[in-house]
């Protein structure tokens, strides 16, 4: 039984003039008549007014507090205006009023999915300014922590992205594994999220006894998660594939011009990985492959992240095998914070501690400016530091990958549906804390 809806039309039309009502009724009749393929009426129906739709800042699919304004024609995005800033905390201003070691605690809060990457990135920048050479064990531990962080960041990124696309099971499996990694961080750094593990010229503390074994045991069971629980559920999943293949696509030349980095750029087929191109720490000594894709869409980004998980696992295992006992900070009392028993037991230790910790002291840096970049899980995390030779930096600027990627949203989403904007955002893994700083 077909209900004749043409009587209800009047309340849907905007104008009340007879002509407008008649026109609307005509369109309505034609549209609901089954089998009628009048192209003109369909075209007339499609001609709608543009709508402005607000997305965020509190929306589950933003994974944080990101906001975007869509200008829509039907469901198609005509214009997209990213509006960051809801987590703007003025980290760069704060940096100018803190010593280098104090600022490490602030870097935790930037990309809160991978705090150790930020810690290591900033410490390396300060050490580049000083021209320090780190002891080997310190470098090994930093590589292990950086790669474990990369694994946990990629897991969350893949899990939440899959969750947005309707694959709930993967989310549970990966968060279980992330929990194990956080347990490992708790053992080595003392806290799960805000690690503040690095110090300029070294680390907070060495690995406790038996920690190497703990990491090894975790690695053994993690391979199964990678292959069975995530890849098995997603790689050949037609629903997942059809949903995100060809979404958020960008060409390699365009991506480079926009400054895209990390897994997103590698998915376009550009083998740009700072661990290979500008080896820092011990990456030139370790054996690993750079994962690249060729399409540059959301699905390739997922595949690249998946491959990087395995490579990071390889790196961790190599480091565990090669690591030897040794000092974890530089042998320089003007830089490295002395041990507590040294501080309480000797006058020299107390003086060094005082000079490094008290206000208006800190490490005396040389005058100059440096830019130091590391491969963080999302891309190139760069630190531009200007020093005027005092204990606090004169200026710190963070080149955050999420910030650049969020600015690319209009290009990536042009002409796509609203739902695809969510898929694109999830595949880029834009972290609000890092984007807004």
């Amino acid at each position: 039984m077909q209900h004749d809806r043409s009587e209800d039309v009047e309340e849907f039309t905007i104008g009340t003039s007879e002509e407008a009502v008649k026109k609307a009724k005509d369109i309505y009749r034609k549209h609901f008549k089954i089998g009628d393929e009048d192209e003109e009426s369909i075209r007339a129906l499609k001609k709608t007014e543009r709508m402005i739709l607000n997305f965020g800042p509190q929306h589950p699919a933003t994974h944080g507090t990101l906001r975007m304004l869509f200008e829509l024609e039907g469901e198609t995005i005509v214009k997209l205006d990213p509006r960051p800033g809801y987590l703007h905390t003025g980290f760069e201003k704060l940096a100018e009023h803190h010593t280098f070691n104090q600022f490490i605690a602030v870097t935790d809060r930037m990309n809160y999915l991978s705090p150790l990457s930020n810690n290591i990135g900033f410490a390396l920048a300060a050490e580049k300014l000083l021209g320090l050479e780190l002891p080997e064990r310190c470098q090994y531990i930093r590589v292990i922590q950086a790669e474990l962080t990369r694994i946990s960041d990629h897991l969350v990124s893949i899990g939440t992205h899959a969750l947005d696309m309707g694959a709930f099971t993967v989310f549970l499996y990966v968060f279980r594994q992330r929990e194990f990694i956080y347990d490992l961080f708790e053992v080595s750094t003392g806290s799960r999220l805000t690690t503040s593990y690095t110090r300029v010229g070294g680390l907070l503390r060495d690995f406790p006894d038996g920690h190497v074994e703990q990491i090894r045991n975790w690695c053994k069971q993690f391979k199964e998660t990678c292959t069975d629980q995530v890849e098995g559920l997603l790689n050949h999943n037609k629903i997942f594939q059809n949903r995100i293949q060809g979404i958020g696509k960008i060409s390699a030349a365009n991506a480079i011009s926009y400054g895209m980095t990390g897994p997103s750029l590698r998915a376009c087929g550009v083998p740009y990985d700072l661990r290979k191109d500008e080896p820092y720490l011990l990456y030139d000594r370790l054996d690993f492959d750079v994962a690249i894709g060729n399409e540059g869409d959301a699905f390739e980004r997922y595949l690249v992240r998946m491959e990087e998980l395995k490579q990071s696992l390889r790196l961790v295992e190599q480091c565990l095998d090669q690591m030897q006992p040794g000092p974890i900070k530089v042998d320089d009392n003007t830089v490295a914070i002395p041990d507590k028993n040294h501080v309480y037991g000797s006058i020299e230790g107390l003086i060094h501690h005082f000079k490094l910790i008290m206000d208006h002291h800190g490490i005396t840096m040389p005058k100059g400016e440096i830019y130091s970049a590391t491969e963080s899980p999302n891309g190139e995390l760069g630190w531009y530091i200007v020093s005027n030779g005092e204990g606090t930096p004169y200026k710190v600027h963070v080149r955050a990958p999420s910030f650049v990627h969020f600015g690319m949203m209009p290009v990536l989403c042009q002409g796509q549906m609203i739902g695809d904007a969510v898929a694109t955002l999830g595949s880029l893994n834009v972290i609000a804390g890092e984007c807004d700083r």
Partner: protein, 166 residues
């Protein structure tokens, strides 16, 4: 791989006085460029086969108020060449009385987004910019918070924006 000294020499011979000076610190090359010739130098850096700085990394500015340099501001561009695996830093001095600089979004597409942040934090106006609005802080904000004469805790404008009881 192209040597850093060669890059500096080539820029100097090509542009003469437009390249004010070059510096090298911790193996990083910094080139100081006059604002008037800036677009020429940057497009040369992008297109010349021996340079090919095709990747846009970052743009920021430094306020040298407390270091007593003249002019007060310097806009800093970081670029990277994927082919030659090189980085370069280009600095353009901008005086306080004439806070204008050409936008480079025609050379690197990513620049427009980052220039908005520099504008809101330092008040440097990018000419021919397609969309020069404030980015991270509200549009009602009237100060430039990363300038050195702006205090850490603000100038009290929070109280103006958010009156008591709101």
């Amino acid at each position: 791989m192209v040597d850093k000294n060669l890059t500096a020499e080539k820029l100097k011979s090509q542009f003469g006085e437009a390249v004010l000076r070059t510096e090298e610190f911790r193996k990083e090359l910094t080139v100081f460029v006059k604002r008037e010739k800036m677009l020429d130098v940057l497009s040369f850096l992008r297109d010349d086969p021996e340079m090919l700085f095709d990747m846009f990394i970052d743009v920021t500015a430094v306020d040298y108020l407390k270091m007593e340099k003249n002019p007060r501001f310097q806009v800093v561009y970081h670029l990277r060449s994927l082919k030659h695996n090189q980085r370069i830093r280009v600095k353009v001095p901008v005086s306080e009385s004439d806070l204008k600089i050409p936008s480079i979004h025609t050379l690197w597409k990513g620049a427009a987004w980052c220039e908005r942040e520099v504008y809101e934090m330092y008040g440097i106006i990018f000419e021919d910019h397609p969309d020069l609005r404030r980015l991270l802080i509200p549009e009602t904000f009237t100060h430039f918070p990363l300038r050195k004469d702006y205090p850490l805790r603000g100038k009290g404008e929070r109280e103006i924006i958010l009156p008591e009881g709101s």
